[in-house]
């Protein structure tokens, strides 16, 4: 039954659209700098990781947006009278969003791979952990977003998280550099 609910969530939650948005945005950021990584696997993985400073806040906002679904649809009264504990209710939603994030991140890598495959001869296995850690970090962001969105179910939460996260991730490295 859990599998059926997860399938419904994958199709009907914002998971699918979030994954598509991640691929499109990711490709749109990668291709302007194609000269820096085109034809080589490891630079592609590293450039993708570099762009986490945009993908990460976006995942945070997407999670918060999805978390607002219950208050948006005003189902609190209906769900409040059901026996299943809340954490079990949230699990398939979080699962669907996590699947979307992994698919989106890998999709972005695949979009870049189109410009690598024709000329690359050497495939370093070392890029696998780089991509895996990147995918895991956007999963963490989306779950964190879900949690924050549930705690603060306001219409302002998703954009505030996305913008706030972006500002933080841009200024944090600058601030650290100045200290040195």
């Amino acid at each position: 039954m859990m599998a059926r609910v997860l399938r419904t969530e994958l199709r009907r939650s914002s998971a699918l659209w979030t994954a598509i948005a991640l691929v499109v945005l990711g490709a749109a950021m990668l291709y302007p700098v194609v000269d820096a990584w085109g034809g080589r696997w490891m630079p592609l993985a590293l450039w993708q990781r570099e762009y986490l400073f945009v993908l990460w806040p976006m995942a945070l906002g997407a999670g918060a947006w999805q978390a607002r679904r219950e208050s948006r649809a005003k189902v609190g009264e209906l769900f409040g009278a059901t026996p299943r504990p809340r954490w079990q209710r949230v699990a398939p939603t979080a699962g669907a969003m996590a699947v979307a994030m992994v698919a989106g991140y890998l999709g972005m890598f695949a979009a870049g791979a189109v410009s690598v495959v024709p000329s690359a001869g050497y495939f370093p296995l070392g890029l696998l952990p780089v991509v895996a850690v990147g995918a895991l970090s956007v999963v963490a962001a989306v779950v964190l977003g879900l949690a924050i969105g549930r705690m603060a179910p306001s219409a302002f939460t998703p954009p505030a998280l996305a913008v706030g996260g972006l500002v933080l991730l841009i200024t944090l490295p600058l601030g650290l550099r100045q200290r040195r």
Binding site: M1, R4, R12, E77, L78, F79, G80, T82, P83
Partner: protein, 269 residues
């Protein structure tokens, strides 16, 4: 569908009345909306009548275990709702259609009813069959795979009834289920109520006195959070013999009983 019955299903009941309230008090915000209500409801269809603000919805929310009683006792299926009660087991036996029925617009009818069955912890093997039966009983089988957002008001109400009955509840709470239904659909709905009445305690809150007379085995009239009248529909109609305003005997009975109650309440003060 053939399935085995569990011991819990064949065991004789050990309580009097699925719903028992004594001196029940429930708060709605700051106001005590249900204030000293005594009520016992068994199997059958109980029509809950009362003017706006009488405490109907607050009572329904308390019966659905959404609101906790502020005083008095409330027993559902024989277990008192206080202290460390096993709400989870109790909620599996409850079906609830709130006055404001919230739903996920992107889900299809089948997906949403299935999701509700999952939230109500219906055993996984039984879910597809239970969902199909519930959708058929409310006459939505031809729209089962359409998105919720494409349904009209009356269809949404029926989808709401379908999710309420999907777990074969022993207590079924319907808060204004006939809003938005056309006359033919209301007749079908009454038929469904009669069908459920045999083995379920159904509480239907409504403003339509005629629905109550036509489909309910029992009338419950409340005002200002207290019980005014409880009896069979014909008693309500008889109360209207002595005057009162309204187009039908039942409506006259409704106004007479309310007036009498308010008169005696004033006198007591």
């Amino acid at each position: 569908m053939i399935r085995t019955l569990g011991a819990a299903e064949t065991a004789p009941t050990t309580y009097i009345g699925e719903i028992r309230a004594q001196e029940l008090r429930v708060r709605a915000g700051r106001r005590m909306a249900v204030d000293g209500l005594d009520l016992t409801l068994g199997t059958g269809v109980h029509g809950l009548l009362g003017p706006n603000g009488a405490g109907k919805t607050t009572l329904m929310r308390a019966l659905a275990t959404v609101l906790r009683p502020a005083g008095g006792t409330l027993e559902l299926l024989g277990s008192p709702l206080q202290g460390r009660v096993d709400l989870r087991a109790l909620r599996r036996e409850i079906g609830y259609l709130p006055q404001e029925f919230g739903y996920y617009p992107r889900f299809t009818v089948r997906e949403f009813v299935e999701y509700m069955a999952w939230l109500k912890e219906v055993p996984g093997r039984e879910v597809p069959g239970a969902v199909q039966r519930a959708i058929e009983r409310v006459g939505l089988a031809d729209r089962a795979d359409d998105r919720m957002k494409t349904l009209s008001g009356g269809m949404l109400r029926r989808a709401g009834i379908a999710q309420a009955i999907v777990n074969d509840p022993r207590i079924l709470l319907l808060d204004e289920p006939t809003v938005g239904l056309d006359p033919e659909q209301r007749l079908d709905f009454r038929e469904l109520l009669r069908d459920l009445a045999a083995d379920t305690c159904v509480v239907v809150s409504t403003h339509l006195v005629e629905d109550v007379v036509a489909a309910c085995t029992d009338v419950v009239l409340i005002d200002a959070g207290r019980l005014v009248f409880q009896g069979v529909p014909s008693e309500l109609e008889r109360a209207g013999d002595s005057g009162g305003v309204g187009d039908s005997a039942a409506e006259r009975g409704y106004t007479v009983l309310l007036r009498q109650h308010r008169g005696s309440a004033e006198g007591a003060r």
